[in-house]
Amino acid sequence: MDITGIPFFLAVSFGGAFLAYLLHFAHRFLRNAVALLTVSVSAALLFWLGDETFSIEMGGFILTLGKTPYSLFFAGIVALLAVPTVLFSFTYMAKEERPAMYYLNLLITIAAMYGILFSLDLLSLFIFWEIMTWSSFLLTIHKGGNATKAGVKYFLYSAAGAYAILFSIVILFNMSGSLLIEDVARSFVLQNPLMQLMLAGTLLFGFSVKAGLMPMHGWAPDAYAESPAPFTALFSGALSKMGIFGMGMVLYQIFLQSPFSLPVRELLAWAGGITSALATLRAIQQTDAKRLLAYSSVAQLGYIVIGLALGTPLSMMAALFIALLHGVFKAMLFFAVGAVYFRTGLTDLNELRGLIRRMPVSFLTVLMAIISLANIPPLGGFVGKWLLYESLIQSDHYFLVIVAFFSSTASFLYVYRLIFSIFLGQEEKEFEHVKEVPFLTMQLPMLALAAVTFITGIFPGIVLAPISSALTYLGFPIYHDMWSMSMLFNEWGNRINLLAMISVIGTVFLTGFTILSLYRMRRTRYVTTKDIHTSGEVPTENENLTYAINFYQPFERAVYPVLSKSIRAWIDWIGRSVSEFGDFLRHIYTGDGQTYAWYVVLFLTFMLAAGSWLL
């Protein structure tokens, strides 16, 4: 088999999954080695992937696989996150049950994501899409208990999305007689506009479910919060990007020529904006670290959708850049939260505090990640946000700028809460024995990703180069004067020299840090939270006076009455109604045999009457 071909690539990815599963029964170490090897080798193979396409007939359909620059970029995101995820799982999952199943499903999910990306036709895309869905479902329910509920919810939302996609695929196949995306696109233009609108609508709906776009985001907080931490990193970082990938594909490869394309994209941009704003507000409200990050993910994906939907070269560049960066820093955050959970067993922000001395590396990771998330230079997040704002302003979406700016600023609130509640404040007695996580398997992935945010912040060109080729593939004119390796330009001739920026910021930071550590650190006095006296009395254990509780009470009081009507509740209500209707319906089967005989006679009468009447 050609080792530069897609079949070999997928064979390695899927084969590795099963091999790792089987080797689990030989030795734990072998399993880990194979798992790591699988993701590393497939990541490396991405560089050598040949251009030729590959077709296979299955069940009467021709499935075609091949790479495109667009898919290669997303594959890069997957590979970038897959390796640290697997590495991080080694120690983290050692305590958990059924590790073999975990690795099997994890590696299948990763392989399926590659499969989605390298599908040139809609059916193989759907097949891999569903494989990804069920394997990630199994990962989500891995812990059992509440996770089962979250997992089923995730699956049902996904299924609704997936079947919307399948619905369009079947109709598109019927129209064009081919499943290849090119052919479909060609015959799509010939359909009547309303049909085009419906098909694109169902497709976009389907893909947006995976991206967690409101109102179909209901699964995301639960599923992210309940799945094992290393996988959550991949889940929010890479898996949700498959939705973005699909939406990009639909918008720019199939739907672009339609008369409805522009209004739909405008609508989508607004959906993205609203998603980012509302999800940010929700994130502020959360007291569980993973749920907080989950809402944050939804918000970030909202940004990406804004960029994607606007469809200017600059906004696309921004969207794809954020897509990558979001994967990286969200993975870091989930890893760090996972590390904290690994050592303390807690993710509740009201109970965690003062871990900075105990887990400095995790702290550093979170710090780097939230700087990136808050789009502060010099880290990578800044570049993305800069591009996005610029594209918004350039295309006269001033109101969206305000929305984006609002949610971006509001995100400071939750990231601050996150880092503050976990790492800052006084250290608790109960965390005395907490140690930093092991270096090789847990610190290394975090630090490596931190380095990525740093490098992309200084040299965004590394990422912008593949993005440009991806956009060229999608048919965007890319003017190459928009960026260079470490500089960004805009239409008006302004430019930002990131290298200069980092040197200034670095110098200031280092100086400040040195002075502070020399001067202040020595004088701090060790106090615990219990070191408080009210009217001369020491408060009892159950009177928890930690200031992390009701952290943003005034803010919440101001904002949340508006949010009290949740769209999730509506969707849940629909689900409940269907369920109750089903419950009502099964009372048809009364248990009385005679009733069934009545049904038979009634049916026969009806058939005879209807038959004669129709004659």
Partner: protein, 488 residues
């Protein structure tokens, strides 16, 4: 002795019959024969399949019983479709036998195996025969075995389920017999092929009535809503191996009969559309009814009805693709539902409460794995067999432009996913039920064979493509059928 006993389709019926008559005798010699003989019979029948089926794919084998050419005598029509079903039934019979070896402990075992063999043989007979009254006789053989097996276990509510089944089942046979009587009185013949040619003797208004009678008669056995009241009770009362056969065999045979009779004798567009609509209604109602089901076997029963509804909906499209899809859906359902029944019974035992699945992922990992596989397959997730069958159903519907049908099927699939995944989730809960027993290897092997089938079809759907296409052709090409049967 291939010269002495030339293999012919009649062996599908004759061999189990001989074995069934022999069983009481050999039981007196040694108890162990009781278990061995049915296995040998199923193996033999499988061998017959292996030899005959490839021939049938080339050209149908038409056998005349007792040397009388149709329409005088009864003939067997062993075409691609009949061959497919007969082989499927034999294979399922063998697997269920393998499973029952250790899982079936309730006496009287000799009677159990006789009924089991005759259930399979009767269903095979329905598929093979080319004579409508003979079809009725085989339908009764199947039905009486099914009635008795439903009430086979001693627990309280089994006889109740059996009575309901027999009540509705006898109505079914009566209506079919009435239909036959009407047809005979107009045409003077009972042979299906001959009937098909002499249908113009029957006035149109009478044809409608006969179609109604057949639809109700076969519809009861095929679990069409609202005729399927007996089904959930029977499925949950019968021993699980038998429920697996109900889902895999009896329903399929009845569906085959309905399809064959409708296409041969009542090929109006209206009757087809009607069947399609009934299928959809069955699908929707059954899936919704399953949603809140706490009893596992009832849940599987409702799901079974839903799956059959799907197959019927595809069948009613009356196109080559539609029949192809219906066949695919039926085969998939036979394998998957059979496996689910067997796996559930091996895990939760006879008590079918959903809670019994809790924590099985740890205690019985292999069976849990297979249950998960089955659940995924029946929902229609790739790369398992159910995906391809559902996809073929959808494309068949798409081809006829029935986009609303596609939407309905997909919407019910979400409902289906809900309850199957809830059950799957229970397997991986941490707290478990106290049930603790070893599952014997033969039972696991039986489930594993079906699981392998799911994976095989999932990864190589092309491998049965030829068979399904030939089967669909066979069913739709009435001219070929009648000419083949009445050639001399």
């Amino acid at each position: 002795m291939p010269e002495l006993f030339p293999l012919s389709p009649v062996h599908y019926v004759a061999a189990p019959l001989l074995a069934a008559f022999l069983l009481p005798l050999v039981a007196k010699l040694s108890r162990s024969f009781i278990k061995i003989l049915p296995g040998l019979t199923f193996l033999y029948v499988l061998y017959v399949s292996a030899v005959l089926f490839p021939h049938a794919l080339q050209s149908p084998i038409i056998e005349q019983i007792a040397g009388w050419a149709p329409p005088l005598g009864i003939n067997l029509y062993y075409g691609p479709m009949a061959g497919l079903f007969a082989s499927l039934f034999s294979a399922l019979g063998f697997i269920v036998w393998l499973y029952s070896l250790t899982q079936m402990k309730q006496e009287p075992l000799d009677r159990f195996y006789i009924l089991l063999m005759m259930l399979v043989a009767g269903a095979t007979g329905i598929v093979l025969t080319g004579d409508i009254f003979n079809l009725f006789v085989f339908m009764e053989i199947t039905a009486i075995s099914a009635f008795s097996l439903t009430a086979f276990l001693r627990e309280d509510d089994k006889a109740e389920a059996g009575f309901k089944y027999i009540l509705i089942g006898s109505l079914a046979s009566t209506f079919v017999l009435l239909g036959i009587a009407v047809l005979y009185s107009y045409t003077g013949t009972l042979n299906l092929a001959d009937l098909a040619l002499s249908m113009e003797k029957v006035p149109l208004s009478v044809r409608v009535i006969v179609f109604g009678l057949f639809l109700v008669g076969f519809g009861i056995e095929a679990e069409i809503f609202p005729l399927n009241g007996w089904a959930p009770d029977a499925y949950s009362a019968a021993p699980a191996p038998v429920s697996a056969l109900f889902a895999g065999i009896t329903v399929k045979a009845a569906l085959y009969a309905l399809a064959r009779v409708t296409i041969l004798l009542f090929p109006f567009a209206g009757s087809m559309a009607l069947i399609s609509i009934l299928g959809l209604v069955t699908l929707v109602i059954s899936e919704l009814a399953a949603l809140h089901q706490k009893n596992l076997f009832r849940m599987l029963a409702y799901s079974s009805m839903g799956q059959v509804g799907l197959a019927i909906a595809a069948l009613g499209l009356f196109t080559a693709e539609g029949v192809y899809a219906a066949l695919f859906a039926m085969i998939n359902h036979a394998i998957v539902k059979g496996m689910l029944f067997l796996a559930v019974f091996a895990m939760a035992g006879g008590s079918a409460n959903l809670d019994n699945l809790n924590g099985m992922g740890r205690k019985k990992p292999v069976l849990s794995f297979m249950f998960t596989l089955g659940a995924f397959a029946i929902i229609g997730l790739p790369p398992f067999s159910g995906f391809w069958s559902k996809l073929s159903v959808l494309t068949a519907m798409g081809q006829t432009g029935n986009y609303i049908m596609i939407a309905i099927v997909l919407a019910t699939t979400i409902v289906e996913a809900t309850y199957y995944l809830r059950a799957t989730g229970r397997l991986y809960l941490s707290e478990g039920s106290p049930v603790e027993s070893k599952t014997p290897l033969s039972a696991i092997a039986a489930v594993a064979v079906l699981a392998a089938g799911i994976l095989w079809i999932g990864f190589f759907p092309g491998s049965i493509d030829e068979i399904l296409t030939a089967g669909a052709q066979d069913l739709l090409d009435t001219a070929k059928y009648t000419e083949g049967v009445l050639k001399d």
